[in-house]
């Protein structure tokens, strides 16, 4: 590089050790809130909240909303909204339920639990979800109908398409392989989970290191090594800590016995097997990592944020904002279908009320996670943390024994309070 790129940065006040970590304060705040919530509930439930079993359940309960919240971040960042995600989840779930219980085994004569059923079902579901999402996006982008209206209509339409497809009946049991995507029925097992944990840690450290190298190559200022190492340590601890927790949740003996019986073997006496990472959580991790890369490192992601920050500027910069809208809604539809796989597999059937009120949970998760409704700001990890906080609140209150009406009153109040704190925080920061 030429000299110009290595001009000395004017020396400001020496940053504190904490500032040198360059952590996202909002992220820290949310993690702090989550930790306080967990400890609080743990005290009130006499230590039942922070058990491997409960944390395992908490994570699989969060997955469905968290996956959709990732897509909702992009929708809200571009100043749109999607009120139809719960209904879309229901429709894609209904389509998949009918595909695996009616269409494939009976109409096409493949029989129950055919090894190809789960794959065909999921492909059909994802396709339907993506197409419906794209259709919404086309109406918003090209027909310029406000997203609020399109998806409010979609909310009524798809909820009842699902009803019509299944005649309002609960459809089950679902394909046995399909059920593995639900949580308890499909986990990686302890060894694979450890390997995955180590692999994920290695990837995270490599990402930190290569980011630093790219900056250093152009002579930009980089964080001190100790700050980088601390960050890597925290990430490694979080990943491996989670693996440790889900591995130490042992499969109940009765259940383990049945698993051995199913394979025609007898269970050795006193055997203890941990669950490991649920496949549904693995899906969430893949979705989150992929979308974070999309948001930060692809043109598509850059255009999403530019459009949210200033739609006119984006258009004048030559970005095809209409097509972008179609893509974003198509992605949302795709993620609704992924969530439908997880949600129906977790319940082991498709019920008529699946995904009811999910649109509000998903929006709340994205907003609690720091996505600004005015557009242009939002993160994937924030939305996932938002979903986790909401689920922790809900499960925790249920465990403590808070009356059902109060649970929703608290969740609603927390949503409003979280957004208010965010507004105050942004004003202090001097940003918009």
């Amino acid at each position: 590089m030429t000299e110009t790129s290595s001009q000395p940065v004017p020396e400001k006040a020496k940053p504190s050790l904490f500032q040198q970590l360059e952590l996202d304060m909002r992220l820290l705040g949310m993690i702090g809130a989550f930790v306080i919530l967990c400890i609080g509930f743990n005290i009130f439930t006499d230590g039942r909240f922070l058990t491997p079993r409960n944390l395992f359940n908490l994570s699989i309960q969060t997955v469905s909303v968290a996956i959709m919240a990732c897509g909702m971040v992009f929708i809200i960042v571009t100043r749109h909204i999607d009120l139809s995600v719960g209904a879309l989840l229901a429709t894609t779930s209904a389509v998949m339920a009918m595909t695996q219980t009616e269409l494939l085994p009976q109409v096409l004569g493949m029989g129950l639990n055919n090894p190809a059923t789960w794959a065909i079902t999921i492909v059909v579901g994802l396709l339907v979800g993506t197409l419906i999402g794209a259709f919404h996006g086309w109406m918003v982008g090209y027909l310029t109908i406000p997203a609020f209206i399109v998806t409010l209509g979609g909310f009524l339409v798809w909820r009842n398409v699902a009803w019509y497809l299944t005649s309002g009946q609960t459809i089950g049991p679902l394909d046995s392989t399909f059920l593995m995507f639900g949580g308890t029925n499909g986990t990686l097992g302890t060894t694979t989970s450890w390997l995955f944990g180590l692999f994920a840690t290695a990837i995270a450290i490599w990402a930190l290191w290569s980011g630093r190298r790219a900056k250093a190559a152009h002579g930009f200022p980089v964080k001190p090594v100790w700050a980088e190492a601390t960050l890597a340590g925290i990430i490694a601890l979080a990943i491996l800590g989670y693996v440790y927790i889900v591995n130490s949740y042992a499969i109940p003996t009765r259940r383990l016995q049945r698993m051995f019986e199913a394979r025609g073997e007898t269970m050795p006496e006193g055997l203890v097997v941990g669950y490991g990472i649920p496949i549904s959580v693995l899906i969430l991790i893949i979705v989150a990592v992929t979308l974070t890369i999309v948001a930060r490192k692809t043109r598509f992601g850059r255009y999403i944020f530019a459009t949210g920050g200033n739609p006119d500027a984006a258009e004048l910069s030559g970005i095809n904002t209409r097509l972008l809208t179609v893509k974003i809604f198509a992605l949302m539809g795709f993620l609704c279908a992924v969530s439908a796989v997880v949600a129906s597999a977790r319940l082991a059937n498709h019920s008529n009320d699946i995904g009811t009120l999910d649109e509000l949970r998903v929006i709340a998760a994205a907003v609690i996670g720091g996505t600004a409704l005015s557009g242009g700001i939002g993160t994937i990890y924030g939305a996932i943390l938002g979903a986790l906080i909401m689920q922790a609140l809900q499960s925790g209150m249920a465990m403590v024994g808070v009356d059902a009406p109060f649970q929703n009153i608290v969740v609603g109040s927390v949503l409003v309070l979280a957004v208010y704190i965010d507004i105050v925080y942004r004003k202090r920061l001097g940003a918009k």
């Binding site: 110009t4 940065v9 152009h218 490192k297 920050g309 004048l316 940003a431």
Partner: protein
Amino acid sequence: MQAQDTHENSVKSGRGSGEAPLVEMRDISISFGGIKAVDHVSVDLYPGEVVGLLGHNGAGKSTLIKVLSGAYQMDHGEILIDGQPVEIANPRDARANNIETIYQTLALADNLDATSNLFLGREMTTPFGLVNDAAMEAECRKIMAQLNPNFQKFNDPVSALSGGQRQSVAIARAVYFNARILIMDEPTAALGPHETQMVADLIHQLKAQGIGIFLIDHDVHAVMELCDRASVMKNGKLVGTVDIADVTDDDLLSMIILGKQPAQKAE
């Protein structure tokens, strides 16, 4: 057609030496809901020339120029670049013809940093197809060092920048990608005297490189100082186009206010 070359030593640049104009907008009309915002207007621009577009608010000068930058669609007329008719249906087409615009409203995405704004729509990518932020920031630092050496806020969103800093980002964006035709819509409206001078210097510099510039402005003095010719519009119609050397401030003012062509000054 020998229009590609610029004659830096000729006072009137490419004009008058028989070259085709860099841009020719012929007989352009555009109306919104029955109101003729631009009514059969023709203007042209030669390489290395600055043409001022003058007129009151609502005279149609911004609308006319938005046809060239692809933001609006004309109802009638023709655009020629280097003597060849071109189709400009959207901002992407304009960019493909090396037309760059600096808008009055700046057209920056406030939530992104200077580098992301500079490269918006034209990001540099790594071999894997991901955006190459480090390489783009390095380029951004290079061009900003030329345009505005005091600029340091490379990692802040542009909402945190001052008016002048934002303007330099907008200008950097127009200049960086080898514009041949530059449209500046009141580039100094939000700026202090020092920054205004900076923009004026830049216009001289770009002119010397053979870039043709359309400068939209209210300010007659700025136009007298920076432009070679001025086209004056009133109520959507072209009042006339004059050589700045042949007119006075008052002549221009009476064209703007009264819509009157200065006597005996027509070419």
